[in-house]
Amino acid sequence: MKKILFEKIDSSYDFRHATLEHKYSNFIENINDKNTFYYFFAEMLSNIKDHSKFNNAYLLAKKQEDNIIDLSFSDDGITLPFTLQQHKEDNLTIYDATKGLSSKKDEGRGFGLPSTIKIISSMIQGELIIASRNAIYYKTYQNELSDNLNSSLVNGTLVSIRFDCTKLPNIYSII
């Protein structure tokens, strides 16, 4: 049976273990490393909170019968290309973000998105899509594509990851 959870994210989003275990009880069954699951949450939510200046943000989680999970984080914020102001073409700016470019110049920044992409695409053969302003970026183990559209694709940013939850590696074995 397919499981779906849709929730609004705000500044008071409850990240405690008991709350997540309760809300996502149908999702974390069969997950072989919950910390990796929490890692995705932490990095994606931190990115929204730190960079997007959102008014509204949402999380859509979907789990299929074959243990494939989709986690989609969306916000109506200022978008990656606007935040980074790196290239005229939005897809090039998003590409740089996936390689570690951060709008914050503090030491140690810029690892959240690349590490998530590395785990999803290289280690467990999942898929990742980023859509922000005029561009879309798609990454799998074998493919990495990005393109621009003529008009704004989304009013904000969408990051969506798809993975087989039975394949999640121990986060501490790969860092």
Binding site: F15, H17, N35, Y39, A42, E107, G108, Y172, I175
Partner: protein, 85 residues
């Protein structure tokens, strides 16, 4: 020297993921003090939180000691320190 203990579980819960939580962690601590950061019952800390925690820690003049940190927490701290740029 005075010792002040920060109980991470009581303050943030057992999963500490978001960066902003660390931004004010050492606010109003004072000088000439020893800070004990107690990770008892904390199961997971995210990379972004850890990066900010270390950044705030570097700004302190106080001696900071971490106690009751599980291997998952020490591994994350070690990873962030290792990849600091």
């Amino acid at each position: 020297m005075t010792t002040k203990t920060i109980n991470m579980y009581e303050r943030y819960g057992d999963i500490i993921g978001l960066r902003y939580l660390a931004e004010s962690i050492f606010d109003n601590i004072g000088d000439n003090i020893e800070i004990v950061v107690d990770f008892d019952k904390v199961e997971f800390i995210g990379r972004s939180f850890t990066q900010e925690y270390i950044r705030q820690k570097k700004k302190q003049n106080a001696k900071i000691i971490e106690i009751n940190a599980s291997s998952s927490i020490t591994n994350m701290i070690d990873w962030v320190v290792k990849t600091w740029k």
